[in-house]
Symmetry: C2
Subunit: 189 residues, 2 copies
Amino acid sequence: MALRHAVLAALLDEELSGYQLTKAFAAGVANFWHAKPQQVYAELARLERDGLVAGREVVQEGRPDKRLFRVTGKGLGELEGFASTAAKPAFLREDLLVQVQAADRLDAAVLIERLTERYAFAEAKAALFEERLRRMRGGLDEAEFLLRGARVGPYLTCRRGRDFERANRDWCRDVMEVLRARQAAAEEA
Amino acid sequence: MALRHAVLAALLDEELSGYQLTKAFAAGVANFWHAKPQQVYAELARLERDGLVAGREVVQEGRPDKRLFRVTGKGLGELEGFASTAAKPAFLREDLLVQVQAADRLDAAVLIERLTERYAFAEAKAALFEERLRRMRGGLDEAEFLLRGARVGPYLTCRRGRDFERANRDWCRDVMEVLRARQAAAEEA
DNA sequence: CGTTACATGTAATATGTTACATGATTCC
DNA sequence: GGAATCATGTAACATATTACATGTAACG
């Protein structure tokens, strides 16, 4: 039940609405966890029912009203309990890896299309993370920020996200290089 | 439905039993996908029902009989179809990231325990992948193997697995360094 | 004689995804 | 006038995890 804790962690620094949370957990933005809007709303409802977050109505003009949520004392306790238990390591579960695993029996040109797409996606996402890091640092250089900044947690997770996508990008590039070289070698023979 | 394709990809090079597949997809070994034994057996049953794999009974002495599976022509077609569709990019979904996201509100000592565990796990898994890569290369150096070796697919996915765990290890190390430096800085003040 | 490996599942529960639903407002 | 953003869900379906079940044989 880690989405539960991911939502709590996201709400630690600031009050957010369900909608803002769905944005934070959406495909392009989430630096440390991912979830669909429906899941976020459902989890928020459960968290409120269990008293781990508290919502407060905010009336707005010109746009629909919304509810802002914050973590309760009980919610913080829940997070502390979560942090004190061993974390399950994650596995890579990427469609593209399955496709490359079968590379020797598939058409290289088709795979190169997939790799090109993933390369572009990884590059874009890494750039997005890099930008967010820059904003979090503000004027400080990284070492200074990490030593004295408030809230380094989100920074550290965002950095992992950036490096993950950089690694994806580099891997795509290397695989494409290999596939192309093998095509060329096969043509010569 | 990517487990389906992961199983097909795993069976491309060699006939395997359900049990061998469960080993390949188990926590410590899978380089490109992960699944529990129950899932693997269920998926094999479906694949056989749909004619994408064919099983053959092998009678054994001294241990239970088993069934070896191979991919059918239809199965290869299914994989080709899969490779021709855009792959969904994966997200990081790691408990430890959630815990570090909340780092500023949690006890650093507790987090360092989690990071130490994950560091050791990542190191061990990276070493395991490295060993498998070495075996796949045989006597050849990497560039030579990638250019002329048969079956580079599994090699390339295994390399991604190794680099993923190396990145996890390095991130754990960096985060611990930051947390320790901040503890020291806080004590001084 | 207890543990690990071999070998294969069923059943219940939890989690995640897809499709559908509603309605106002702002931007182009 | 149509698309995108704000705002919040329900319902159906697919996938993954956990618990349970069974039996042989090799290893120490």
